[in-house]
Symmetry: C2
Subunit: 432 residues, 2 copies
């Protein structure tokens, strides 16, 4: 068989280990597809002597990145070390030396995508990143290529497995957020410091990447509104279920005549919506295009082997482009410079739970405040006495501007009859 | 802007009209992505004067295919005329003249795929067919490229919208097959002659295409076992629901050490399986790979614009390959010649409904027949008297070989205590 195509891997953590395993395990079918075998030439590690989960030829390991970049035979670099410091430097160096890069690094792309894509374009090589969103789920390529004939209207996804696991458990077992979080940590589904997952930062990075591709305009992490799930209560989840909704941490990216909105926050999703059935650590991305209509991509959004599946798919593509002298065939697709809507201009529906004084006329005065701010109520779902002096009021609004709702809530908070604005959760996935 | 890339379209029916509309509607973003506009140079039609749903420049229309093939400026041919006669001839002619071909023609690919792919390879051009399975859903490219690092174990799909619509209606409204079929015809969801859809032929063609890609071996329409939905009763659907299943027409392709199985038949699918929630005319394809695990692709499996979305995605790819002198970059991937299992060797679970004499010892003698044939019963779900002399017996088996079950059923049919074998439906999507 023909000479092998050589690959340098930066990092041998969870994903790196999966990539090494998968290239070994399925090397035969990959070589068959490419007509040439793939061969790992170098693996950059921090510690040469660390005990590892896999058997790997110690001669491949190096602590010196320069050894990899300066090897003229290594044409594909796989960055699976993570972080935005050294990883960025190494990717840029690789691109400059004419090597194609495959990366799973969402943090880096969501912050410095423009610089990285510019470099890949300048040097005529590939920068592929299927693994950066949705783990093993094919979503970047379908969005960038298969759906390229569509004007994308909306991308809506469950793109963080940790929070989906927590919300699924809270829903099924009626347990509190903190209780389930502790269990998720002990099972390895949540990190010791789970902030990035539970506060929506991780999802925001992925949505920045998806929105950039969907709308052809550069969206960074900082453009994404985000709100996490730590304030959600079992009470709200129970109300959601009673009303026919699942509670999910959603990433939503929409374009309309006023611009682009990209936001990550908990939401009520109608049980009949395909995203409502996406449970546990599974991820799914729902895409709406003007021709294709509604489509959805579902699978494991994280983990060693699922992520390796996406990385290896990209390695095969980079290898094919190298064989065909066709590197850099699809570069950055952010051709436009579209405005980002302020969050106040977003229009959606809301679920509200208020604790109020249990006395006559309370609902009327609350409805009055909403009315003045053009917040129209769809229904008063529940109105029940909590004790001799307090009642709970559960409301669902029609579509309203976020700013109007926030203004109304500010006034309500100061109203003597309102004891507490207990919950505000957006309602998504119904008719727009 | 640069010179346009010219496209010849064969056929201006439902899909052809969608393609013309979409190229017009989103021509700006497509040109942006390619750096060159796409331009329709010819459209082959049967009747120049027919009234059509769209405004199309009459100068583009022709009844002479040779005019298209002989135009050296037209480099991409889109075959959306359907059928396996002229379509095959025209595709082969196009490939021979060095033109890339985009087709939505599942009938043709499922019968003559090998010959067509050989021709595209010989002439170094593309033969792209994303629209042939699942309408607008990206599934061919993800399976062939993004998931290329996986050994695919199983592909399971709802790949026919007409039957899914009928089963959804039967389930929700408790109406009979024939009643819903008539309604589907009047709404245009079923054709005047619905045989190909309801008998599973259409799904079998799509499964032949998916299985060929998934397992790297040529599967034709004739290799696919098929059974339609016309014998399903509301009674069985109600039992399924009571037992926690949805009833779907499934296409299933699996590989194990004994070979490949590809089959289309109605099945009970556990309600918690992602395919169970795929309703109405929607399609979904569930793919299981050794690295990626479970993944699913969901969307509209038919219709003018969704199908056009897939066709235009392929046109863009063919145009890009033309620009980059990289046509024929991914050719046929059927490298192997794997054995197809006889249907009798397939192992699955079964739901059985029998009408028996209502007398003591009946269950024992039936269980005895199953036991002799190594058909192990998981549960006797229901045993109820229908009238003074007959009872209904509903059983679910463990995993058994199809041949063993069929042998047992043959013996049962001759047993004096068995009045009728009312239903036999496979149970899929649980633990293998």
């Amino acid at each position: 068989m023909a000479k092998s195509i050589k690959i340098g891997i930066l990092g041998l953590g969870t994903v790196g280990t999966g990539v090494v395993k998968l290239l070994e395990q399925n090397g035969d079918i990959i070589a068959q597809k490419l007509g040439q075998p793939l061969k790992i030439s170098h693996i950059l590690v921090r510690d040469l002597n660390r005990k590892r989960d896999i058997d790997v030829d110690p001669n491949l390991l190096t602590t010196d990145p320069e050894k990899i970049f300066s090897d003229p035979e290594t044409n594909i670099i796989v960055e699976v070390m993570g972080g935005v410091g050294a990883a960025k430097e190494y990717i840029l160096k690789s691109l400059k030396r004419g090597k194609s890069v495959v990366t799973a690094n969402k943090d880096l792309l969501a912050l410095h995508g423009k610089e990285l894509f510019n470099a890949s374009e300048t040097h005529g090589v590939d920068l592929l990143f299927e693994a950066s969103v949705g783990g093993g789920i094919p979503i970047i390529h379908p969005l960038k290529e298969c759906l390229a004939g569509n004007r994308i209207r909306k991308v809506m996804g469950i793109v963080n497995g940790t929070t989906n696991y927590i919300l699924t458990k809270m829903t099924r077992e009626g347990r509190s957020f903190s209780d389930v979080l502790e269990e998720a940590k002990s099972l390895g589904y949540a990190e010791a410091d789970p902030t990035s997952d539970i506060e929506g930062d991780d999802a925001a990075r992925k949505m920045a990447i998806l929105a950039s591709i969907a709308f052809g305009t550069r969206i960074t992490y900082h453009d994404v509104y985000r709100q996490g799930i730590s304030n959600l209560t079992v009470e709200d989840i129970n109300y959601a279920n009673d009303l026919g909704y699942a509670v999910k941490l959603l990433g939503i990216a929409r374009e309309d005549e006023d611009g682009i909105e990209v936001r990550v926050h908990p939401a009520f999703v109608p049980l009949k919506h395909p995203l409502a059935a996406v449970s546990d650590v599974f991820n799914a991305v729902f895409v709406e295009g003007d021709a294709v209509g509604e489509t959805m991509f579902y699978g494991r959004g994280a983990g060693s082997m699922p992520t390796a599946s996406a990385v290896v798919g990209d390695i095969i593509e980079a290898a094919r482009n190298f064989q065909h002298h066709d590197r850099g065939r699809i570069t950055c697709t952010c051709f436009y410079d579209k405005p980002i809507k302020p969050m106040g201009a977003v229009v959606t529906k809301y679920y509200l739970r208020l604790i109020v004084k249990d006395e006559p006329g309370v609902l009327a005065s609350i409805a009055g405040v909403f009315g003045e701010r053009e917040v129209s109520l769809a229904s008063v779902v529940q109105e029940r006495a909590l004790n001799s002096s307090a009642a709970e009021l559960v409301l669902i609004t029609h579509h309203v501007r976020e700013q109007n709702l926030q203004d109304a809530l500010k006034i309500l908070a100061d109203l003597p009859v309102v004891k507490q604005i207990a919950s505000v959760v957006r309602v998504e996935g119904g008719e727009d």
